[in-house]
Subunit: 215 residues, 2 copies
């Protein structure tokens, strides 16, 4: 099994397992079985074992997984055992919300530079950073060794920003603009589609009504 | 198959199918096969057919799916064939970003009321709305017939807000606070964990390195 053949859904569950393990580690629980982990998160134990099996041997027969070891291994697999420098394009409301989002640094992501197309914003403070023109992206990527970026600009500018990031050799993009980005295969885009999240919610809320009309 | 047994991942893919169908509809494509739909989105045609089979009979043998019909059916399944009134708790940077997010209304979600705990903000304008105290939530939910809410408050206040929403009989919550919410089973929470999204990105960016050390 090549690592790039691992389904997104399995990688997503690794994040969910890690959240739960971190929570029980704080409560000083030292071991957990695949069954316990699955039950706590509404997955089958077979699903848990299958997801973990992509990454080799975890756990000890009859003992289950050692929580501390597993947290360390999952962080290593997910690449959050180190700190990533991340740049942000778009210093509007969403950009400011992302800057103050407390979850990022705790998970190993450090906002290292911020850019905006609006010349009126250039040089202004943005937390501990200063807003730079987008023409400075390539230089910042090189000097700060940045490989990851967040796009928080209006949809009509997002592709242009993505092209600049790709040209600057940014390899991973978290895209908040409600538009699909076209990038070369060696660049990975993770899109946060907020309307899609609300759609999932409305589906679940429709359930009662739909189920009532189904034999 | 009961509708509440349909996996989240399948519902998520319905949203993705719908996005693609809407895009090709604009380009005046009238029919599509499960194979074409799958190929465009990197799923197998078996996966596409299985996901749709949860909801009954789609498509015509030898013709495939009629794009327009399928858009209408998927919207009906996802509950976005109507407009939902949504309330927002938290009028900070993230709240403002959500207010101006253009994807929402297009997908059938209308921001109907906004609340904040900060008394200094009460009565201030927020787009076309006025920021209200959180004590007014129950009244607004009843008069505006709101069943869906977004939480964009700091993590330490999120559970308290969730409790108020549940008490006011809000049935669906989109949670942006980086904390797990405890709600009764009849309330559905969809969490947007931004750090988790970055984690997925760092996993994919680690791939080259990991793959290189794997036999």
């Amino acid at each position: 099994m090549r690592h790039d053949e691992i389904p997104n859904s399995a990688v997503h569950r690794l994040s969910i397992y890690l959240r739960h393990l971190e929570a029980i580690h704080v409560l000083q629980q030292r071991t957990i079985s695949s069954k316990q982990l699955g039950q706590a998160l509404s997955y089958s134990d077979a699903q848990v074992r299958k997801d973990l099996a992509y990454f080799g041997q975890f756990g000890h027969p009859g003992v289950g997984y050692r929580v501390e070891d597993m947290i360390r291994e999952l962080r290593s697999i997910l690449g959050t055992d180190k700190t990533w420098n991340v740049l942000l394009v778009g210093a509007g409301n969403l950009g400011r919300a992302l800057m103050t989002y407390r979850g990022f640094l705790r998970k190993g992501f450090r906002l290292a530079a911020v850019f905006d197309a609006d010349t009126a914003k250039h040089g202004r403070g943005f937390g501990e950073l200063e807003i730079q023109p987008v023409s400075a992206i390539a230089h910042a990527v090189e000097t700060l060794q940045i490989r990851m970026a967040m796009i928080a600009v209006p949809p009509e500018s997002a592709q242009q920003v993505a092209d600049m990031l790709v040209a600057a050799k940014v390899r991973g993009i978290l895209n908040f603009a409600a538009v699909s980005l076209v990038v070369p295969p060696e660049t990975y885009v993770q899109s946060v589609d907020l309307a899609m999240q609300l759609e999932q919610l409305s589906f679940r809320m429709n359930l009662g009504q739909i189920a009532g009309t189904t034999p």
